[in-house]
């Protein structure tokens, strides 16, 4: 009996010990590189493979050992590796703050190499530089820009004979017309909670940031709050869209994957997503074509803004075994050649203006908004901690399932925001 009980206790205690095992910092990752083998961890499944191939071809004799994984798994793994000194030379790092693998989070304890003196660092546009830096130094090679908006399936739209709406009033009418024709306007897969934020961000860009470009600065200075700002308007519009039948039935039981299926096969007329989903939609239905438009949040199209921001980039481990090779790799990623491969494969826009990459005609409008300075970074990138976003994501699911209200969720986000970094 004693042994059995002890074993049961020990088995459960292991949960705690597994977490604790991450704490023992060593310098296992430092020094000793052969200058020919680069280690790399990435979340860019489906595109990093081609970049690695191009890099190896451009540098004969060099071998890149790389691993790819999903964002959740990657963030868990990279923290453990960094803390134990076993991280790869080059790794995916997200811009700004707000998630466990973000620039501020990893640069603050000194895990990332300062890339400020690399040739591309000074050329980054201001909005991108802001999220590639921590305390004025650049740590992240951000190669691509992504935007969020309403993506319309052109074949499905043609079939029902509807045009993309140009104003908020048109949008609600469009939703009703689409429902009447038996094809809901937009697919929404909020069983995966990160998806909940996309419609809200698309609305907040116009309702909050177009009217007040300094909203983030005011938030940081404690002069503004979510609960007493047009975030309430955006929340109300999100709910109004739901009530007007803009989304298919049961969005909470629909996964991101299932929502792609709906939009790609024309069971909905489109999807409110980032441009990164285009490649996935085409994977499900190669014959389909898409056009990305801003989601109308007011009746004045001149006031529309789109959320657009740098996607995940690459950072160099401060204790990289092959520092020179690692720098060579990030510089390749930021070169016109590297950007062409990466952005072409991902369907994103290059972060440097002179990269010479061609823009996919389906996302041309996003490019116009970026060039016209009518974009705002994804809202969470400038928030002080990861908790604000998580509170928003689960809060939105609670609003959709009538477990909470917009006011309560915004108040909780304010409380998390004020709790600081």
């Amino acid at each position: 009996m004693k042994i059995r009980t002890l074993a049961a206790v020990a088995a459960a205690v292991t949960v705690a010990s597994l977490l604790a095992a991450c704490s023992s910092g060593t310098n296992a990752g430092s020094g000793g590189g052969d200058g020919k083998t680069l280690t790399l961890a990435s979340v860019d499944q489906g595109s990093i493979e081609d970049v690695v191939k191009a890099f190896e071809a451009a540098n004969p004799g060099v071998k890149v050992n790389f691993t790819t994984s999903g964002a959740d798994q990657y963030q868990q793994q990279i923290r453990t590796q960094l803390a134990s000194g076993t991280a790869p030379d080059v790794m995916t790092v997200w811009p700004g703050n707000g998630n466990p693998g973000a620039t501020y989070v990893l640069a603050k304890p000194g895990y990332l190499l300062d890339l400020s003196d690399q040739p591309w660092a000074a050329k980054l546009p201001d909005a991108v530089r802001r999220v590639a830096q921590y305390e004025g130094r650049t740590y992240n090679a951000l190669f691509g820009l992504n935007g969020i908006g309403a993506l319309y399936n052109e074949q499905a739209m043609q079939k029902v004979g509807l045009q993309p709406p140009g104003t908020w009033t048109d949008l609600l009418a469009f939703c009703k017309a689409a429902t009447a024709k038996g094809t809901p306007a937009f697919a929404l897969g909020i069983q995966d909670n990160w998806v909940t934020q996309l419609v809200l961000y698309a609305l907040v860009a116009t309702t909050v940031h177009a009217a007040d470009r300094d909203f983030d600065t005011k938030m940081q200075a404690g002069q503004a709050s979510f609960a007493n700002s047009p975030w309430t308007t955006a929340m109300a519009k999100y709910q109004e869209m739901n009530a007007s039948g803009c989304f298919q039935r049961n969005p909470l039981g629909t996964s991101y994957e299932a929502s792609q299926e709906l939009a790609a096969t024309g069971k909905t007329l489109g999807i409110i997503q980032g441009n990164w989903v285009v490649a996935l939609l085409k994977g499900k239905n190669p014959a389909s074509t898409y056009v990305l438009k801003p989601l109308p949040a007011t009746d004045d199209p001149a006031s529309f803004f789109m959320p657009a921001a740098a996607g995940a980039g690459y950072g160099v481990n401060a204790k990289a075994k092959n520092k020179d090779l690692a720098l060579k790799f990030v510089n390749f990623v930021m070169s016109p050649e590297g950007m062409k491969v990466f952005n072409g494969k991902q369907g994103s826009l290059p972060s440097l203006p002179d990269s010479g990459s061609a823009v996919d005609p389906g996302i041309a409008e996003l490019n116009t908004f970026i060039q016209g300075n009518r974009t705002v970074p994804f809202m969470d990138q400038l928030w002080p901690n990861a908790k604000v976003q998580q509170t928003m994501l689960s809060g939105l699911q609670e609003i959709f399932s009538n477990q909470s209200t917009a006011d309560k969720v915004l108040a909780a986000m304010d409380a998390d925001y004020r709790s600081g970094s």
């Binding site: 205690v13 991450c22 990893l106 996964s255």
Partner: protein, 276 residues
């Protein structure tokens, strides 16, 4: 014992130490916060909800899985022709990796998934539900998936117990004119006591530690409607970087598992002794 201490006890004790700090899992600097993480837990509605869900899941799974497992065992212990095929068929889900079955069921239970389609086809369209998206149903959908997968496992243990009951006892009871229900209650049930002990112990510990199926089926959502202590530990540590708080939750989970399994063991082994 030395190896056990080195591999399990020492790292575990070190782990517990971090429950009293504000360590973020990354920074080498952290400070001692005493019982701060535990007092935070007491006022954190998400933690209280997760503890409640964990207990509901553990109790529901233990009762339903073993109830179904016992009925299946009694069914396939009869002399019906297809009993061997049925045994294999019913045990099969238990050998599949839980994460795989969870993803499978996530699709089956979707709004346009096979379960709703089937209900529509057999004329029960009004029973169609958003099984995983409705906070009232999601927890029970998880229970259903786990029972589907592991009832066969419980069945096998009960079946082993049933097959060790000597035939003579059955026959003697039958000659004395005892009906099947009374025969089960007074003859078979006491002899199954060791099987009950093992099954209840395994399912209560499994239920309390539940992580992968919940994470794959609902991710703890919608909102926090199906978060368990284990999913919250994961989220706090790896999404929010609150390792200190997360380890404090892991310590609470450890205590719950230890208390539940120890007390259950005492009660059941006393029953076993009484039955023998």
């Amino acid at each position: 014992m030395l190896l056990f201490a080195f591999v399990v006890l020492v790292p575990s004790a070190r782990g517990v130490y971090y429950a009293f700090t504000d360590w973020d899992g990354l920074s080498p600097d952290f400070s001692w916060v005493g019982f701060g993480n535990f007092t935070d837990m007491a006022v954190d509605p998400n933690a209280r909800q997760a503890i409640w869900h964990t207990l509901v899941l553990a109790v529901a799974i233990t009762i339903i899985q073993n109830g179904v497992g016992l009925l299946l065992a009694l069914g396939v212990n009869t002399m019906i022709k297809s009993r061997n095929v049925l045994r294999v068929f019913l045990f099969a889900p238990a050998v599949i990796t839980p994460i795989v079955t969870a993803y499978l069921w996530r699709n089956l239970l979707g709004p346009d998934g096979a379960v709703n389609s089937l209900l529509g086809t057999v004329g029960l369209g009004s029973w169609r539900q958003d099984w995983l998206g409705d906070p009232q149903l999601a927890l029970w959908a998880i229970v259903g998936v786990i029972v589907w997968q592991f009832a066969g496992y419980s069945m096998v243990i009960f079946l082993a117990g049933l097959q060790s009951v000597p035939k003579e006892i059955y026959e003697a009871a039958a000659i004395d004119g005892t009906g099947p229900v009374r025969r089960f209650w007074w003859v078979v049930r006491p002899l199954l006591a060791p099987a009950f002990t093992i099954n209840l112990m395994l399912s209560i510990i499994g239920g309390i530690k539940l992580f992968d199926q919940v994470y794959a089926l609902t991710g703890g959502g919608p909102g926090h409607a199906t978060d368990t202590i284990s999913t919250l530990i994961y989220k706090e540590a790896f999404t929010l970087g609150e390792f200190g708080y997360s380890i404090a939750l892991a310590v609470v989970l450890t205590v719950i598992v230890a208390v539940a399994s120890t007390s259950q063991y005492f009660v059941l082994s006393r029953n076993e002794r009484a039955a023998s």
